[in-house]
Structure formats: structure tokens, C-alpha cells
Amino acid sequence: MLAFTVRRAIQAVGVMIAVGIIAFSMFRFAGDPVNQMVAIDTSAADRAALRHSLGLDDPIPVQFAHYFVNAAQFKFGVSYQFRQPVASLLAERMPATLELAICATVLSMVFGILMGVYSALRRDSLLAKIFQAVSLIGISLPTFLIGILLIYLFAVTLGWLPSFGRGDVVRIGWWTTGLLTVSGLKALIMPSVTLGLFQMTLIMRLVRAEMLEVLRTDYIRFARARGLTTRAIHFGHALKNTLVPVITVAGLQFGSVIAFAIITETVFQWPGMGLLFLQAVQNVDIPIMAAYLLMVSLIFVTINFIVDILYTVVDPRLRATISRPA
């Protein structure tokens, strides 16, 4: 078990180094950083001085080591467009994105599991067929179209919800939250529904498939033979066993939720990291792009690592295969 954990940890670090190399080469080779920073009339001598002060004339491996040490301390350089440290720009916008992503994930879990269980237990009912149709549409409609549709319906036509922004936010330390004000909560509804819909269809399909599989197993038949109530069988035995893969998928998907937030944040002008990243892509602001890539990868790799470890803790069968010499 310890060997497995260590091996996974080494793999995770390896992935981060690979992503670091990509981020560094983006930073270093995609366009000249000096040209991006100086005005057109800067003299060649000043450019050379700036180049030297940034360490851009060092050998490449030295530069990479330098970049890596800085990145490990969350120093990602200065944004070309905002002339501010990238780290503080990201930190300022991270609460908005995380709040949105967590709300979307919770929404998708709750409704996805409910709809999945229902459509597995009442397979032929009308409502289950409607859920199936909704899930197909949820997969087929691009995120931004869903956002536009919601804005047209609830903001333009009905005027119930705000169409952009985060509403009023409350500052707690360095964290800003919209969860404590009415306008903040109202502003959160449409973006989190938009962002969570795709995950919801995914979870619903997964729960349905897993439930159908589990309901066919012997221990469910045995539970019926023992005379347990249907309710206890469905929710105590069947659902509990489907939740392991569901939680895994939801955990692994959290990274993609943050990445997909780029689209949702653009549609709703949500002031998060995704909007910052998109502005960086449009304005070729490489330091922000590289830093965003590193941050998102760090989140991905950490979640992957935790899920891998938790999986072996939860599922004894996996432990057996791991401890067996390969």
C-alpha cells in the first residue's frame, strides 16, 4: 500500500514536471517576452539590459530551473496586459471560479443521482423516458447555447435573474463570496445550472447503468429473499454500492468543471479565472496562460492522486491486485 502511494506520488510529480516543461516552453518560445514588455521606441541597449535582468540570456536549463523554482512558490511573472503579478490576478479571481464550480458539482450530483436512481428503478415509466431525452439533449447542446437560452428566458424575457456578473460579494479575509447576499445567490443560479448540466447528464447515465447492474447481482436477490423492504434494498444496498464509481467520476470531473467554467464565465461575464484565461488567449498574454495551465494541472493531478488512493481504501479488491507482485 505504501509502495503504491509512493509510486502514484512519483507519477503525479512526473506529470507536473511535464506540464511545467510545456508551460515554460510556451512562456519562453511562443513570442519574445522582452518584445511584449517594452514600448516600440525602447533602445536595443535597454532591451538587452531587460533581457539580462529577466535572466533570459542564461542557458535554457538554468532558465527552466529558475522558472520552476518560481512557479513552485506561485511566482508566475508579470502579466503583459495588466502589468501586475499573475499570481495575485489569479488569486483575486479564484474564489469566484471555485464557488461556481462547487455549486455546479453539488447541483449535478444531487439531481444526477436522483434522476439516475429513478430511471433505473422505473425503467419504462414516462418520466424515465423524459429524463433519458433530457440527458441526450444535455449532451448535444453546447454549453454556451444553454447559457444563451437561459439568459434569453430568465433575464431578457422574464427579468427574474441577472444576466451577468456575480452580484454583491462579501469579503472574508482574501476570499470573496457571493453566497451570503441575495443578489449574489441570484447571480449564481444560471451559471451553475449551465455549468452543471453536462455533468448532471453524465452522472445520471452512470447511476442508471450502475444501478441496473447492481440490481441484477446475487446479494440483492439474497436481500429480497431475506424479506427486506424494497426501500431498504434499493437505497441501503443497491445505491450505496453504485456511489463509489459515481463519487470517483464526480471527483475526476471536478477538474473539467473548472476548465469548462471558461465557457460559462464568458457567457455570464463571471469574474473568475476562466474569463481571465480567455482574455489572456485573445491578447496573447503568455504568462497568464502558462500559470493557468499549471494551476489547473495541479488541481487535476491532486484530485487524481487523492481519488486513486481513496479508491484502494474503499475497495478491498483493488488492494489485493496492488499488493500482488506484477
Binding site: V15, A18, V19, M26, A30, G31, K129, Q132, L136, I137, I139, S140, L141, P142, T143, F144, L145, I148, L149, I151, Y152, V156, S163, R205, R208, A209, G255, S256, A259, F260, I262, I263, T266, F277, L278, A280, V281, Q282, V284, I286, M289, L293, V296, S297, F300, V301, N304
Partner: protein
């Protein structure tokens, strides 16, 4: 997993003509796959809609009342006209016009061409890259295999849209913002190809690992055929079934990705709009009540993706022998 797409084993009494007609067309019409296609009405509708989209895209210059890419044909006099059936409608603008006097229907037809072209080329590029790497990894094994598959593993943790955005951003920063529309299209195909190759590589590698231990591969090796010939002529055809399913589902994903990139302003420019660009431009007029500028491109995109997804679902079930 649509219920409708699963071939039913009911009505076994329905007689099927067993006298196999000659030729590949006859064989195709008599195949199990075509039989299950005819059994599912939803799939037939989806197939017809997909075919229709491809047809109108190809025939766009004949069907459209103007060339929306040619600024000389646009007149500001005609801007923001409502669809024909409303009180303010004007012939010949069936679905109305946008801010620049561009006929919405013509823009959709031409935009459809761009969307489908990027989608199909992206899938072909991703497929070629993935199949090639999968064949190499599966056939040779060892260090090459673990290197390719490690890269695939790492890439699989990142969503395609993020990779496509990054590739797009990097290419733009290398070439500057002076790319013309045609090279933007090439960049999009490249970005989409790079973000979708993993699934092909994994599938092909899996099948190749099974196939390469078969006798026919040993026989081919014995008569001295070179490895590339064995891989392409003998092993590859036996792995095509799953590839076809992935390609169909990926076509929908590639079109969504292109539309999303264009919607985010990182894709096709306004001068040569795809469906995604049209939706981005139209979105600006949503608040002033000109709903048709965004509604019709959005509806076309949704209908196209839904039909392709339905076809993909059906194909997956039809080619899966376990479900027969």
C-alpha cells in the same frame, strides 16, 4: 444508451430475404447494420437530418441568396430585418438579416460549410494521428508503447476544449494576429486534432495487442512482409469497427469544440463566420430584441449535433455484438 436505437429482437417472424444480392451495395443493404438502421425510426430521421445538413452545406452557393463572405454583396440598408413571416419581414430574407445586412439563412448555409469542414477534417486528422500512434504502440510494445501511452494518459486528464484553446493561443502568439481566415481554419483543425487523438490511439492499441498474436500476422511475418505493411494492410482493417463509432461521436464533439472556440472569439473571424461565430455575433443583439440573429444559427447547430449523436449512439449499439 437510447432505448430506441437498440435493435429489438421482437417479431422474429418477420421474414428477411436471405438471397444475398451481388455487389457491395447489395451486401450493405442486406447487412445486419442496415437492418437495425431500418428498424429504428429515430435513427432514420437522424440520418436524414445529418444527410440534409451535409447536402445544403455542399450546395450552399446554389441555395443562398447572397455570398455572406463577400462584403460587396452586403447592404447596410438591409440590416436587422425580421424573419419573413413576421410583420417586418422582407423578401428574399427568409430568416431575416443581421447588423451588417447579411442574410441569416445564407450565413447559416455558409457557416455550416465551415463548421462541417473543420469537424470532418479535425476528426480525420485526430483519427490519422491516433491510429498511427496506436498501431505503433500496440505493434512494437516496450518502451515506445509506454512512452506513447504515458503521453496519452496525461493528455486524457485534460479536457479537449482546454487543449484546443492552448494550442490555438500558442499558434496565434507564434504567428501573431495576422492569420487570414483560411489559416485560422487550419489552426482549428490542428488544435482539434491534437485534442482528440487519445481515444483512437487507446482503442487501436488495444485491438492491435489482441490481433498481433493471431496466426495471420505470424504468417505475414513469415513471408517477410515489412512491419508497416502488416500494420496497415492486415491489422488495421480488423480494428475499424470501434474506430468508426468513435469517429462518429467525435464528429459531434469536434463540431461543438469548433463552435465553442469560435463563440469564445478564439476561432473563425467575423469575416468568414462558422456557426459558432454567428452565435457569438448574434448574442450581442439578444438584449435589443433581435432574437433571430442568434436563434437560427443556434438551432441549426443543436439539430446538427443531436442528429450526429443519435447516429453515433445507434452505430455503437449496432456494431456491438453483445447487444444483438
Amino acid at each position: 444508451m437510447t432505448e430506441t436505437a437498440v435493435p429489438q429482437q421482437a417479431e422474429p417472424s418477420a421474414p428477411r430475404p436471405r438471397a444475398a444480392p451481388a455487389g457491395w451495395l447489395g451486401r450493405a443493404l442486406d447487412s445486419d447494420v442496415f437492418y437495425s438502421f431500418r428498424r429504428s425510426r429515430l435513427t432514420m430521421i437522424a440520418g436524414a437530418v445529418t444527410l440534409l445538413f451535409f447536402l445544403v452545406a455542399i450546395l450552399a452557393p446554389l441555395l443562398a441568396v447572397q455570398d455572406p463572405f463577400d462584403p460587396a454583396q452586403l447592404q447596410l440598408m438591409n440590416s436587422r430585418i425580421a424573419p419573413l413571416w413576421t410583420a417586418d419581414g422582407q423578401s428574399p430574407f427568409l430568416l431575416g438579416t443581421d447588423e451588417q445586412g447579411r442574410d441569416v439563412l445564407s450565413a447559416i448555409l455558409y457557416g455550416l460549410r465551415i463548421s462541417l469542414a473543420v469537424g470532418v477534417l479535425g476528426v480525420v486528422f485526430a483519427g490519422a494521428l491516433g491510429i498511427l500512434l496506436g498501431l505503433i504502440a500496440g505493434y512494437f510494445g516496450g518502451a515506445v508503447d509506454s512512452l506513447i501511452m504515458r503521453i496519452a494518459d496525461v493528455q486524457l486528464t485534460f479536457p479537449a476544449i482546454l487543449i484546443a484553446l492552448l494550442v490555438n493561443g500558442v499558434v496565434k502568439s507564434v504567428f501573431g494576429n495576422r492569420l487570414d481566415a483560411a489559416s485560422t481554419l487550419a489552426v482549428l483543425v490542428f488544435a482539434i486534432g491534437l485534442s482528440f487523438w487519445v481515444q483512437y490511439a487507446r482503442t487501436v492499441r488495444g485491438s492491435v495487442m489482441v490481433e498481433k498474436n493471431r496466426d495471420y500476422v505470424a504468417a505475414a511475418q513469415l513471408i517477410g512482409l515489412p512491419a508497416p505493411v502488416i500494420m496497415l494492410r492486415h491489422v488495421l482493417p480488423n480494428t475499424m469497427g470501434p474506430i468508426l463509432v468513435i469517429a462518429t461521436i467525435n464528429l459531434a464533439l469536434a463540431i461543438i469544440t469548433e463552435a465553442t472556440l469560435s463563440f469564445l472569439g478564439a476561432g473563425m473571424p467575423d469575416t468568414m463566420p462558422s456557426l459558432g461565430t454567428l452565435i457569438r455575433v448574434g448574442n450581442n443583439y439578444l438584449f435589443s430584441g433581435e432574437w433571430w440573429i442568434v436563434a437560427f444559427p443556434g438551432f441549426s447547430l443543436a439539430a446538427l449535433i443531436l442528429s450526429i449523436n443519435l447516429l453515433g449512439d445507434w452505430l455503437r449499439d449496432a456494431l456491438n455484438p453483445k447487444l444483438r
